[in-house]
């Protein structure tokens, strides 16, 4: 019998399983698909502070950012040279406003972040162009964020899982969780799966955008919805983009609850030499069909930042579904409605970066040890979630 069953072999499940194993729990990870087959291989790998307003999510992101360098080094040591690199790169972010009206909100936002401990440097346009010589000089303001970093998300997920296995975790792919087993007092004692029942002491739902569906199969409401995002990938080229470069209106798109399409141009080059342009945000359910208008918007916004990309071929477009929470905060929490049930999900467009801090929080909460940051803003009990936890009549 396992102490803990983690549902979902995405980056959040992987990080949690690894952490729990390091805390001497026996852990089974189950995924209905393959490892890193969901959202964690369908987005980008930005580890950002720059897009986060002061508040609990920023605190979580700062915590995660402190953990990543050590994690990257640990994973490389544990897994050896034959394992592909997770490509951790603290390259820094450059946020610009491409409109005059955007300039002062950007500078005010940066000032508020500085007050919260973020290294947010307002720089001159000349300095911005020194950092990014091919940037469109017609910008209103620029802020440099040295702490912004990136990883390759699919490899980071696989690396966390491989490390978890080294710590004793078992991973089963192609097994769908279909329900929960509870005892007379309503506490979790196992899960039903497509391949039989699995008894366990606790369950962590880390099923990304599908978490609501899993919770529903347990008879519980969790208000997570899919938020579609698309990314463009260009063919390889010599490195001419050195940081993560975004348009300030990206911040607006992240924070918005609007269901309509929003795009923002986050432009960056990858270790492989391609340029990634992403990403859009749309609430259209689990509809993964192409919409060319979305691609057109991404392209035109990217060109506003880097006009030289005009001739660069786009060779691929891909996308996924961010696990969206109505109050824009992840859910990292015990579920008091069903003792033994935990949630580690709802990270929307930041789950790659936040996964590692999420794992620490879950580990601390499950073992009743000291957590480095306050967990209450991520709890299922928080006031901002209450309106969404009552079933619509």
């Amino acid at each position: 019998m396992f102490d803990v069953v983690v549902i979902g072999a995405g980056i959040v499940g992987a990080a949690c399983a690894r952490k729990l194993a390091m805390l001497d729990r026996s852990v089974l990870v189950i995924d209905s698909g393959s490892t890193a087959g969901g959202t964690s291989s369908q987005g980008e790998g930005n580890l950002l502070l720059s897009d986060k307003a002061p508040g609990p999510e920023l605190v979580l992101a700062q915590y995660a950012r402190r953990l990543w360098p050590q994690l990257a080094a640990d994973l490389a040591d544990e897994l050896g040279r034959e394992f592909p690199s997770i490509e951790f790169d603290p390259k820094g972010g450059l946020v610009v406003s491409t409109t005059d009206v955007g300039a002062s909100p950007l500078l005010a936002f940066a000032a508020s972040q500085r007050a919260a401990g973020v290294d947010a440097q307002s720089i001159s346009i000349a300095e911005a162009l020194e950092r990014e010589p091919d940037l469109n000089p017609a910008i209103g303001a620029a802020v440099f964020y040295p702490e912004d970093a990136q990883v390759q998300p699919a490899i980071a997920t696989e690396a966390l899982l491989a490390s978890a296995r080294l710590h004793g975790v078992e991973v089963r792919q192609g097994v769908e969780v279909t329900g929960v087993m509870v005892d007379g007092s309503g506490s979790v004692v196992g899960v039903h799966t497509g391949r039989g029942d699995i008894p366990c002491g606790a369950v962590v739902i880390a099923a990304g955008p599908w978490s609501a569906r899993v919770a529903r199969s347990f008879g519980l409401l969790v208000p997570i919805r899919p938020r579609r995002g698309m990314v463009l990938v260009t063919s390889r080229m010599p490195h001419r983009i050195f940081h993560k470069v975004y348009d300030a209106d990206y911040v607006g798109a992240v924070e918005s609850g609007d269901a309509a399409l929003q795009t923002s141009s986050v432009v960056e080059s990858t270790a492989a030499g391609t340029v990634l342009i992403g990403s859009s945000r749309e609430q259209i359910g689990f509809d993964d069909r192409l919409n060319v208008d979305v691609l057109r918007q991404l392209a035109s916004k990217a060109l506003r930042l880097f006009p030289f990309l005009h001739e660069q071929p786009v060779m691929r477009a891909y996308g996924g579904f961010r696990p969206y929470m109505p109050d824009h905060l992840p859910l990292i929490s015990a579920d008091l409605r069903m003792p033994g049930l935990w949630h580690a999900t709802g990270h929307e467009g930041a789950g790659i970066g936040l996964s590692i801090a999420t794992a620490e929080m879950i580990g601390a909460a499950m073992t009743g040890t000291f957590a480095e940051i306050d967990a209450s803003p991520f709890s299922l009990e928080r006031a901002s979630l209450a309106p969404f936890l009552v079933e619509a009549a």
Binding site: G33, S34, T35, A36, G37, S41, Q42, L79, E82, F83, P84, Q152, A154, I155, T157, E158, L161, A162, R165, V171, Q173, G174, L232, T234, S235, R236, L261, A272, I277, R289, L290, N291, V292, D293, L295, R296, Q297, A299, S300, K301, A302, L303, L309, H310, E311, Q312, P313, V314, M315, R316, A317, Y318
Partner: protein, 493 residues
């Protein structure tokens, strides 16, 4: 009037356009190439072939007749150098539900030379679509296949037929399937010395595929005559045709100078101690075909177990208003493509099933289908081929991913996911987007994963069908973009 869009102007597309127009439809037929004709006919010279070329230019008269008829038909619009780069839903009917048939898809086209700088952007919203996008050759990897001097059979044939250029002076042809023969014949016509045609399948498998029912071959008359012609040509030119053999390595300093040929067992595994090195400056490889499925997948067409577009007796796909014909529905050669194209065009234009005109096409199609099944039985890829790989053999040439890398990453991650493994090895992520190596990557990774691959993605899925410049994509879009007006819209971008 029904607006029928035919994508691809090979034999299947030309036949579809002709049949649709005959029923009074308003037809647009487009092709990314500079000329009509598709894989097999495109490279014909503009003048009438000489008698000695006759066999190479199979069906030349048929082609000329189809082309002239379409060119002189005022109901038909022909667009060459027109690449469909994406299909998505028409926003005006996006929420109309599945019962609505017409107007469902927006077909996005770029017209002009691919490396030119003023391609014209077109958006076409047809009532019915016929996919006739054909197939490209499949090439199994071997050590040294990234060297200059290694060609796909199709590319070699295109050069030989279109430009009268042979890819080398001492050429080896290797792979599987009856189409290796016309390739060798074209090379000889273009002045190369063909040192040998190496067919991977063993003679006993060929015999069981081809010989038990020879009368079926005669049911596809054009095909049979053609094959006999090739064999005669071979004998005349004394090209050694060897079965149960394959080129398993190419060597040379910066380009092909030698190839290593080995004997294969019935499973296509090389037999130890049978290798022989041949001095050659070019090698042409073809192991059958991979259908171009990205557009059918984009509109949700169901695929068959063999991974072709599934069609019914009317060539209708599972997606309403969408038809498919030719090589994307099964590998059957020119005659099958023509028959299927006629039926698809007829159906797309609203023609009924029971018209007499179609019964002849249906008979022709049936005969060719049997031919296709026999090609697969005799020449289909056998799993033993992977034994000619070494850890250093490149599998994905674009991203230089070796077989050893695939093995290591699969072993270390234990992932059963194609998407994850592609991202962690980079196999299939290069500029060709897995067109060359995709099926091979799936095959090899599937064998390496303990229980096989389990994710639902495939290397045939490519929402962006061909590269498009960011400038072309952004075009003159106003943000947010205005929905295009209904009907066909054209705008210069």
């Amino acid at each position: 009037m029904t607006q029928v869009l035919v994508i691809g102007a090979g034999p299947a597309g030309l036949a579809a356009a002709t049949a649709a127009s005959a029923l009074g439809a308003d037809v647009t037929v487009l092709d990314s190439s500079y000329d009509l004709g598709g894989q097999y006919w495109r490279h014909l010279p503009s003048t009438r072939p000489t008698a000695s070329e006759g066999i190479l230019l199979h069906g030349f008269e048929r082609f000329r007749e189809l082309r002239e008829r379409l060119e002189n038909d005022s109901q038909v619009r022909i667009l060459t150098l027109s690449q469909v780069w994406a299909i998505d839903r028409n926003p005006d009917t996006r929420n109309a539900g599945d019962s609505s048939v017409g107007d469902r898809w927006r077909v996005h086209v770029l017209q002009g030379v691919p490396d030119g700088h003023d391609r014209l952007a077109l958006t076409i919203i047809p009532d019915a679509i016929v996919f006739a996008t054909g197939a490209h050759d499949r090439t199994l990897p071997f050590t040294g296949w990234q060297l200059p001097g290694v060609f796909s059979a199709g590319a070699a044939q295109a050069l030989a037929k279109g430009e009268r250029v042979a890819v080398g002076s001492r050429v080896v042809v290797s792979g599987a399937g009856p189409f290796l023969l016309p390739v060798a014949a074209s090379l000889v016509q273009a002045g190369a010395k063909v040192l040998g045609v190496y067919e991977a399948s063993t003679i006993s498998r060929l015999a069981s595929g081809w010989l038990p029912r020879p009368w079926q071959l005669l049911g596809a008359p054009g095909k049979a005559a053609e094959l006999v012609g090739y064999v005669g040509n071979h004998l005349r030119n004394r090209i050694p045709y060897r079965t149960g053999r394959a080129v398993i390595a190419a060597e040379g300093d910066g380009r092909v100078e030698r190839v290593v040929v080995a004997r294969l067992d019935a499973n296509w595994a090389p037999i130890v101690g049978t290798t022989r090195t041949i001095e050659a400056d070019a090698v042409c490889i073809g192991h059958g075909f991979t259908p171009r499925l990205e557009l059918p997948i984009a509109v949700g067409c169901a695929l068959s177990a063999e991974r072709f577009v599934a069609v019914d007796h009317r060539q209708a796909t599972s997606s309403p208003g969408v038809y498919a014909a030719g090589e994307i529905t099964g590998i059957g050669g020119v005659d099958a493509a023509l028959a299927e194209g006629s039926i698809a065009g007829h159906s797309a234009a609203g023609g009924s099933d029971d018209e007499a005109a179609m019964s002849r096409q249906r008979r022709l199609r049936a005969a060719s289908t049997r031919f296709a099944a026999r090609i697969e039985a005799a020449h289909g890829i056998r799993p033993g081929w992977s034994q000619w790989l070494t850890p250093d053999t490149l599998i994905c040439r674009c991203e230089e991913v070796s077989y050893g890398r695939l093995c290591d990453t699969s072993a270390h991650t234990g992932s059963a996911g194609l998407r994850s493994l592609k991202l962690s090895t980079r196999a299939g992520l290069g500029i060709c987007q897995g067109r060359v190596c995709g099926r091979t990557v799936e095959d090899l990774l599937g064998r390496l994963a303990a229980g096989g691959l389990i994710d639902t993605t495939s290397t045939d899925r490519r929402p962006i069908v061909s590269p498009i410049r960011l400038g072309e994509l952004a075009g003159g879009t106003v943000l947010p973009p205005a929905p295009p007006p209904p009907g066909n819209t054209e705008e210069r971008e």
